[in-house]
């Protein structure tokens, strides 16, 4: 099998899975219980939070454990707007956000909030001057992801945060699902950060919303106090600890892993450059883990299915969109329906080998020749 769909999800690291099994059997108490087994569980969760804070270099930030980035995005957007709704009523976002961000914002729009879309340049990068122009004292939330999942467009998060922070009642939420474990990024100044463990070789079903300590949210899951007042439910100790383990592992030899992915990305770009049918949609500024291309003569769905017959797995667009007809992100970037309908995403890992890429290219060339 040649797996090149790492941006959709990653295979779990066997060490993470073994750790999950081990802690599941060792810490049986409910972390909310007051007896010694419960206290043991609470202590190891607390230690895990300290470890995650240290790995991610957090500063005065709380980790709210969730079922994944979709829940984190919902909690961040609805939680801020419902909490601070009386202060102002305007949200700013981009066209390139994950469906869980778009859906949460659209849901809040239906409740009466105003939504503004900030302009992006020809590479899909936020136009900071336009952001300065549309943000005002009525803006309560700016939600912009660090990396677009379909194309790999990187946003200038620090510069965006600087603009947002000029408005004291405005909160910056950043969906970093495609960044955590893939690039070094300063998280310490950002109000709200979402991510999922399964994007960095963790187990599916666990993620987090990192929140500045002085920020409040309206909970979306109500119940008793758990590890946080913002998300009720028995803390999933094995999943939480396994996420800590996955983070610890992914940031080991991180620079080498990043360099490897960059080299594979360059190699793939060079190979595609030799194929006249291929148009590369991801600019060289994009995250190297994602390479989006279009082959106008070939519908993306067909390409994905044909490659799967040869045990090669890629995506045509984000796994979280119900619109099967085209890539919304590629359409927004290129304004070209043909490119949007024929775009495919190849997502890379430090595990990806040159041999795998050679096989992919060989199969694609064969398919194009036979078409």
């Amino acid at each position: 099998m040649i797996y090149l769909d790492y941006s959709a999800t990653t295979p779990v690291d066997i060490r993470v899975l073994r750790y999950f099994e081990n802690v599941s059997l060792t810490y049986v108490g409910n972390a909310n219980s007051i007896h010694s087994l419960g206290k043991d569980s609470a202590r190891v969760i607390n230690n895990c939070s300290k470890k995650i804070s240290s790995i991610l270099k957090l500063d005065n930030q709380e980790i709210i454990y969730t079922s994944g980035a979709t829940e984190s995005n919902n909690l961040a957007i609805k939680g801020v707007l419902l909490k601070y709704a009386n202060q102002s009523k305007q949200i700013i976002t981009t066209y390139y956000e994950h469906s869980s961000v778009v859906a949460s914002i659209n849901y809040m729009r239906n409740l009466g909030f105003k939504v503004l879309i900030v302009n992006c340049n020809e590479k899909g990068v936020v136009d900071l001057e336009h952001l300065k122009k549309i943000i005002n004292n009525d803006t309560v939330l700016v939600s912009i992801g660090s990396v677009n999942s379909e194309i790999g467009i990187r946003q200038p998060i620090s510069a965006i945060n600087d603009i947002v922070k000029q408005y004291k009642d405005c909160v910056f939420h950043c969906d970093m699902t495609q960044s955590i474990g893939k690039e070094r990024i300063d998280l310490s100044k950002i109000d709200l950060i979402s991510f999922s463990a399964h994007k960095f070789y963790g187990i599916k079903g666990i993620g987090a919303l990192i929140k500045k300590n002085d920020l409040q949210l309206e909970p979306q899951i109500h119940g008793g106090k758990s590890t946080t007042i913002y998300r009720s439910g028995t803390p999933s100790l094995p999943l939480i600890l396994s996420m800590g383990k996955a983070l610890e592992l992914i940031y080991k030899n991180f620079d080498k892993k990043y360099e490897h992915v960059s080299k594979i990305n360059h190699y793939l770009r060079d190979e595609f450059g030799k194929m006249p049918e291929v148009i590369i949609n991801s600019s060289s500024d994009c995250l190297p883990h994602i390479l989006n291309i279009s082959i106008p003569s070939f519908y993306s769905k067909k390409m994905v299915k044909e490659l799967a017959k040869n045990d090669i797995y890629i995506s045509n667009h984000t796994a979280c969109s119900s619109d099967a007809s085209k890539s919304l992100a590629v359409y927004a970037l290129t304004n070209n329906l043909k490119l949007a309908r024929s775009s495919i995403r190849i997502s890379l890992s430090y595990l990806t080998t040159k041999k795998e890429i050679d096989f992919l290219i060989k199969q694609m060339k064969r398919m194009l020749k036979n078409d």
């Binding site: 066209y95 956000e97 469906s99 659209n106 979280c320 619109d323 085209k326 919304l328």
Partner: protein
């Protein structure tokens, strides 16, 4: 009797963009009847319109017969122009 049917989805960025424009249309033509359907949740009600896969969709019906369909992102001006042409035709 003019009825405007709007089919959209929460996850769809084009729908998010178009909603403000539709609101303007609603206020411009307040004498029309408006029905909003969710692409995912109202499939049984939207099936008869054959919505396809591109969203959002604005359908105008006169006496229960479809007379105009506008699919995807369009400018407010463009939608307005098409509706005006339709009205002036009658």
């Amino acid at each position: 009797m003019i009825r405007v049917i709007i089919i959209s989805a929460l996850w769809c960025p084009s729908c998010l963009i178009m909603m403000d424009k539709y609101d303007k249309i609603k206020s411009d033509y307040s004498n029309f009847e408006y029905v909003n359907y969710d692409f995912d949740f109202d499939k049984n009600k939207t099936a008869k319109y054959n919505p396809g896969k591109i969203l959002p969709i604005l359908i105008i019906e006169k006496d229960d017969v479809e007379i105009l369909r506008i699919i995807g992102e369009k400018s407010y001006k463009e939608i307005k122009k098409q509706i005006e042409e339709l009205i002036n035709d009658k």
